[in-house]
């Protein structure tokens, strides 16, 4: 079963909370994430993982009236959280996916304290099941 683990980060006071971290904290955080992805790969469960560019660069796009796409700034300046990155893992149960999400949530933040970020876990749709 595949699951998408979406890491939501608080928007912080500025554009992106991470910008205010000390270099040590940032290094520790990046080191954790790289190590974490390596662990997932060696456990044989990593399907994919990406971090997303800061929300300030995000644009909202719709089909325009003509041929050009309609692009606006976004998203939603008032939103408290934004999607910072995601993993897709292939595991044998939802519980295993929750376990991996909890590990991601413990990524270190300022002062090395666990960030305890909210990770949204969603099952990825698959093929039809076997009939009796």
């Amino acid at each position: 079963m595949k699951f998408m683990l979406m890491m939501n980060a608080p928007r912080g006071t500025g554009d992106w909370g991470v910008q205010n971290w000390s270099p040590e904290d940032l290094k520790a955080h990046i080191g954790f994430m790289m190590g974490f992805n390596k662990e997932l790969r060696s456990e044989g469960s990593l399907v994919g993982a990406e971090g997303l560019a800061p929300p300030g660069q995000a644009r909202i796009v719709r089909a325009g009236k003509g041929s050009a796409p309609e692009v606006s700034d976004g998203p939603f300046a008032e939103a408290k959280e934004f999607l910072a990155g995601y993993w897709i893992v292939d595991v044998e149960s939802a519980e295993q996916a929750y376990g991996i999400a909890a590990r991601a949530s413990a990524a270190p933040g300022p002062g090395g304290k666990p960030l305890n970020l909210a990770i949204e876990v969603r099952e990825v749709m698959s093929g039809p099941p076997v009939e009796p």
């Binding site: 292939d90 749709m125 093929g127």
Partner: protein
């Protein structure tokens, strides 16, 4: 190279893979390294044979290439140790090379079984047992397996190497399990093959045509197990179950990969030859006694497949088989299927009454199939509102795109049939 020639050599390679691996493991003892060496030999053959032709004795050829690989590996390991320890090894280099080839043909068959026992070792997780079985016994490459399960090749390679590590740690030698363990180990092998079949079956609809056909691979390997253990009723039962289920493959999806349930399938598309073979197999297995769960499920599949029209289905007989199955294991999914059979024999209300307590079973309460079954039976009972509500609950819980689409369409049809 002609396609026929390349597919012939591919087929041959896959057949020979476990025999070659068995011979190399016997010679060197190191399963993990032998498995890598055989993979490399298979890859060499896969490029050479279609162009240069298949060697006279392809099995010996593969063993030789793999053995050379093993020897090279051992030599460089020794060289490494020498460098590291700066100690001269007292074994002359020529004693490390080219051991006599294992040409003991009688052990070929046992080797396949030994490898299956090893790859389906209880210490492994299901997904790693599946991956290792497909590579070591099925002769698939890591890339093919990764592709079949839609995960990156690096991830699959790790899964396989972890599996091999676990086997090493478990201390399992390349020998048959004790008499006491034997049944349990056969059960584990059959379960892994069943899971491979399921995975292939799930993905056989529409969009994923490019994937290795795991369904055929599972049937091929189960056929081998049945050949090795002809008196094992469950091996025969599993093979029959696979054949009888796969026989409906062409009918179970529409042109856009949409799901067509059993009761709406065009039965003229079913594969008669597979049905005949499966039916004969299960008939013979059951007549020998000692009936197990795979045999009962195969017998149910046979009853479905033998009905030329839906209304010809022998539901009382199917219900009787579900009764037996339910007595054998406490699986709530069986109770669900049995309730559907009850509805077909005694009417939808009787089936619904059985489904109601199942909704309180925590193992099933959130399962889309329970809600879909309630939807179908409510519809048959003429309770349109309840049918819509249950189908909605099912659609919300389904993690399969074709199935969810089917349910949504069902809801839309019911809602507009006013």
């Amino acid at each position: 190279m002609s396609d026929a020639r390349s597919s012939y050599s591919e087929h041959l390679l896959r057949e020979l893979a476990p025999q070659v691996l068995g011979a190399v493991v016997r010679r060197y003892g190191d399963f993990s390294a032998a498995e890598d060496a055989v993979q490399e030999a298979l890859l060499v053959a896969a490029t050479k044979w279609p162009e240069q032709g298949v060697p006279d004795d392809p099995r010996a050829w593969l063993i030789q290439v793999a053995a050379r690989r093993m020897t090279d590996e051992q030599r460089s390991a020794i060289a490494r140790r020498r460098r590291e320890q700066a100690v001269l090894a007292d074994v002359p280099a020529d004693e490390q090379i080219t051991p006599a080839l294992d040409t003991e043909l009688a052990s070929e068959q046992d080797d396949t079984l030994l490898l299956l026992f090893m790859c389906c070792h209880p210490a492994l997780t299901r997904s790693s047992a599946i991956a290792l079985t497909l590579r070591a016994v099925g002769g698939l490459t890591t890339a093919e397996i990764a592709h079949a399960f839609l995960v990156p090749e690096a991830t699959m390679a790790q899964r396989i190497s972890r599996a091999k590590q676990l086997i090493k740690q478990s201390g399992q030698g390349f020998k048959l399990p004790s008499e006491r363990e034997r049944d349990e180990r056969i059960e584990a092998v059959l379960h892994v093959l069943y899971l491979v079949f399921n995975e292939g079956y799930k993905s056989s609809g529409g969009e994923r045509l490019q994937r290795v056909d795991l369904t055929s691979e599972a049937i091929r390997l189960t056929r081998a197990v049945h050949r090795l253990l002809p008196s094992d009723g469950e091996a025969a039962g599993l093979l029959a179950l696979m054949l009888l289920t796969d026989a409906r493959r062409a009918a179970r999806t529409g042109p856009n990969g949409e799901l067509i349930p059993l009761d709406e399938q065009d039965r003229s598309l079913w594969d008669r030859a597979a049905i005949d073979e499966g039916t004969a197999l299960i008939g013979e297995a059951i007549s020998r006694g000692g009936v197990g769960a795979y045999q009962l499920q195969a017998a149910i599949a046979a009853l479905h497949d033998e009905a030329a029209r839906l209304e010809d289905t022998d539901w009382p007989q199917i219900l009787a088989l579900y009764d037996l199955l339910e007595r054998m294991s406490q699986n709530p999914m069986l109770s669900l299927n049995r309730a559907i059979a009850v509805a077909m024999v005694h009417g939808p209300r009787a089936g619904l009454a059985l489904l109601e307590p199942l909704a309180r079973d925590p193992r099933l309460a959130n399962h889309h199939l329970l809600w879909a079954a309630r939807g179908h039976l409510s519809e048959r009972a003429g309770d349109r509102a309840a049918a819509i509500a249950h189908f909605r609950a099912a659609a919300e819980r389904s993690a399969s795109t074709p199935e969810r689409n089917y349910l949504l369409l069902k809801i839309a049809k019911l809602a507009s049939s006013n």
